[in-house]
Each structure stands twice: as structure tokens, then as C-alpha cells.
Symmetry: C2
Subunit: 167 residues, 2 copies
């Protein structure tokens, strides 16, 4: 089944990066619904290395602030949610569960360059699925993740989201 | 506007990586429609480094064959289209046109590491937009691009597409 023109407009043609947000809160349920869609997007050998840190509190935003470039501070502080799209460098430890048909864990154990490239590519694909899922459910804008953002995973980029489309 | 459940099923819930294809040809018009959607997906500073090589001929497939892992040969030969998702390492030369508000070209000139990371991240996002656009228009599967595939750009991964959803 192909989607109709109205759906293609929502996903691609009429979607725009947002610079301003309403102060409408985004609920746990909305974030869970977003994750339940994005996690289904395809990755190589279902490796799913992406990890998503959802930041909504003033305290969390303050921790982000020093890592942001000047042009990104105001819009990140204003966004109801900012997502750090990160990758788990040890993603391949989960492959026996995620990809039972082969010993895919062995492809990456002891090959850190292949693991890093695979994690970067596939977590980025998952970041794009997050963007498309958010468009399907509401509004979202994306921006680059400064290297100085520290999580237990490797931060790759930031996305800012609102619960509904805003100007 | 949020999409309805049927559209979310097409994009995420019911979509599956395909291993078999019909022999239905994919037309220039279908590929153009796919590109016209994917090109609209967001990239940082609209840098759009992705380049897409669509391979449909037996001769083109034969050139790909030596670069494929054993498990990918049959399905790639059977697919009506295989797309090399690549990146233009000199993408930033186009930024004066693609992102007029700032001198974004200067961010990358003389900074090859930043240019490479930006090209990899954003061309991969565009690869995911290709996958989602193809799902919106028909069936598609994706797989890793072997490093030995040579184009004028840097190959990142392969996607195989059919004009309509197949088993």
C-alpha cells in the first residue's frame, strides 16, 4: 500500500525544521509512542545501536547548555523535549538476542573500527526514523550534537521535539 | 496532522526487510518520485551530502557482485534496483546555494575530519529517508555497503528496492 498525498505532505513536502515551540508539555506516553515506532526501523542485522536520551526538565536543559553552539541555545531551551541521539559502543553484545540466525556478535568483537562505523551508521539511521516517526506523530526539528555532550553512550546528534506541530 | 494507523503500519509496524522480489521493472519515473521525496528530509544546515547511484542493468549488477558478501549476492542480483547510498566528500562546496544564511562552506573547508563526520551522518540520514520514502511508495530492503564499492563518491550502504511490496 502506498501512502496518499496528504501523508507524503506530512512526512516530506510540508514538513519544516521548527525554530519556535509552544509550551505544551510532551508526555511520557507520547515519547513511548515515538520510541515504539522508531525502534521498528531497519538496521543491519537488526543491530539497533541507537540510544535515546529524552530531556525535558529545566535541570536537564541547563546541563546541555554549555555544550550547545550559540545559535542553538534559545531553541533548545524553548523546546519541550530535546533528544540526544547516541550510540552504544557495545551494541554487539545484544546481537545473540537481536539477530539469532548468525553469530553476529563475533563480527564486531575485537574489531572496534567496524563496530564504531556500524554503530554510527545504524544509530544515525535510527535518528532519522525518530525524525520521521515524530513527523508522523507531531512536529520535530533536528540539529548537530556537540562532541562535548557526555552520556553513558556516545552522543551523535540532537533533535528537538514538540507534541504537536508549531510555527 | 498525525498520520492514521494504516499509514504507521506501512511505514513502521508492518514493514519488513524483503529477501525476494518480483521481476517487475522500476521505472525512471518511480526512481525520480523516490528522490523527490527523500531530498526533502532534513540535514544539518541543509548540507545534503548524500549521492544515490541507482543500478538496474545486468551489467551494473555484475560490477557490484565482487564487492558483495556471499549472503547478499542472490538478493542483490534479484532486486529490480539496488541503490548505492554514497556521500560527496566535497558537499560543502554547495553550501552557499543550499544554506544562504551563513558562510557554512567555511565551517568545513580545511577541516576534513568535520567534513567527513558531517557527510557520513547526513548522508546516512538521507539513506534512512530513502528507505522511508520507498516504504511510503513501495517495498525496499537495506544492507551494508562493502567498502570495496567504488563510485565517484564514498559508498556508505546499499538498499535494494522493488516497485511494489513483494513477499
Amino acid at each position: 500500500m502506498a501512502l496518499d498525498d496528504a501523508a507524503l505532505d506530512v512526512l516530506f513536502r510540508d514538513a519544516r525544521t521548527k525554530w519556535e515551540f509552544t509550551d505544551e508539555a510532551v508526555s511520557d506516553e507520547q515519547l513511548q509512542a515515538l520510541y515504539e515506532l522508531l525502534k521498528l526501523g531497519p538496521t543491519s542485522a537488526n543491530c539497533s545501536p541507537g540510544r535515546f536520551v529524552f530531556i525535558r526538565t529545566p535541570e536537564g536543559k541547563e546541563k546541555l547548555k554549555p555544550a550547545l553552539s550559540a545559535g542553538n541555545i534559545d531553541k533548545t531551551m524553548a523546546a519541550p523535549v530535546t533528544v540526544i541521539v547516541a550510540q552504544d559502543p557495545l551494541f554487539y553484545q545484544h546481537l545473540p538476542k537481536l539477530f539469532p540466525p548468525a553469530d553476529a556478535k563475533a563480527w564486531f568483537s575485537g574489531n572496534p573500527d567496524l563496530a564504531e562505523e556500524t554503530a554510527f551508521r545504524n544509530s544515525t539511521l535510527q535518528g532519522a526514523y525518530l525524525i520521521m516517526a515524530a513527523r508522523a506523530l507531531g512536529g520535530l526539528i533536528a540539529g548537530r550534537c556537540p562532541g562535548s555532550i557526555k552520556t553513558k553512550w556516545t552522543g551523535r546528534f540532537l533533535a528537538r521535539a514538540a507534541g504537536s506541530r508549531t510555527s
